[in-house]
C-alpha cells in the first residue's frame, strides 16, 4: 500500500500478557517512529529508528517495552507483562531521510486495550 500500515488495528488482551504491534512504513522511508496516544492527549514519543538501529529510545516508559526493526523496514513494538495503564493507541510514523522538522506520515494506529 501507499501509506503506513499498522496491524492489528485493535488488540484486546488481559493484564500480564505479551503483545506485539507491527508497523510497515512507506517504501523508501528510512526513519521510523513509534508514538503512544492516550485518551484526550497528544501523541507521546516512544522510539525512533534510522535504518535498523534505534537512534533514540528515550521515550520507552520502562523495560517492558521493546522495539525492533531488523531489516530497516518493518518494525515491531513488543510489550511484556501488559498493564492496564498500557491501554492506548500506538501510532507508527515514517519519514524520508533528512526530512527533519517532523513531517511524519502516520499509520491509523493500533488500539490496545488491557483488561
Amino acid at each position: 500500500g501507499a501509506g503506513v500500515s499498522q496491524t492489528p488495528s485493535n488488540k484486546v488482551t488481559e493484564k500480564g500478557k505479551y503483545v506485539e504491534l507491527r508497523c510497515d512504513p512507506i517504501s523508501g522511508h528510512t526513519a521510523l517512529y513509534w508514538y503512544r496516544q492516550s485518551l484526550g492527549q497528544g501523541p507521546e514519543f516512544l522510539i525512533y529508528f534510522q535504518g535498523t538501529g534505534a537512534a533514540d529510545d528515550s521515550g520507552l516508559p520502562n523495560d517492558r517495552f521493546f522495539a525492533v526493526r531488523p531489516e530497516g523496514s518493518v518494525s515491531t513494538l513488543k510489550i511484556q507483562r501488559t498493564e492496564r495503564g498500557d491501554s492506548a493507541v500506538y501510532l507508527c510514523a515514517s519519514s524520508l531521510p533528512g526530512a527533519g522538522g517532523g513531517e511524519l506520515f502516520f499509520g491509523e494506529g493500533s488500539r490496545l486495550t488491557v483488561l
Partner: protein
C-alpha cells in the same frame, strides 16, 4: 510538565468564517512547529509547519503565525469548510533532536453548516 499547550479542548465555528486555533509553548529551544489534523480512527496528517526564523507561513486556506517573544503560535483557517471538522494538534521540535515531536493535547474543531 506540559511543554506544548492547547488550552481550548474544542472550538465551534460557522462555515465560511475564520477558525483560529491557538498553541503555547514553554521551551525556548523549540525552533520548528507543526500542525497536524486528525480525523476519527485515522492517524494524524501533516498540515503546515513553520520554522522559528519566520513569523508567518501560508498554504492555501491555512496560515500559521508564530510569536516567539510570546511563545505562541496560531493556525488560521479561512474560509472554514465542513471538511475541516477534526482534531488539530500543535507539535514542536528542536533542530538538534528534530525527530522527537512534543505534542499538545489537541483542539477539536467543529464547523457548523
Amino acid at each position: 510538565d506540559q511543554q506544548v499547550k492547547q488550552n481550548s479542548p474544542s472550538l465551534s465555528v460557522q462555515e465560511g468564517r475564520i477558525s483560529i486555533l491557538n498553541c503555547d509553548y514553554t521551551n525556548s529551544m523549540f525552533d520548528y512547529f507543526l500542525w497536524y489534523k486528525k480525523y476519527p480512527a485515522e492517524g494524524p496528517t501533516f498540515l503546515i509547519s513553520i520554522s522559528s526564523i519566520k513569523d508567518k507561513n501560508e498554504d492555501g486556506r491555512f496560515t500559521v503565525f508564530l510569536n516567539k517573544s510570546a511563545k505562541h503560535l496560531s493556525l488560521h483557517i479561512v474560509p472554514s469548510q465542513p471538511g475541516d471538522s477534526a482534531v488539530y494538534f500543535c507539535a514542536a521540535a528542536s533542530m538538534d533532536s528534530n525527530y522527537q515531536l512534543i505534542w499538545g493535547a489537541g483542539t477539536k474543531l467543529i464547523i457548523k453548516p
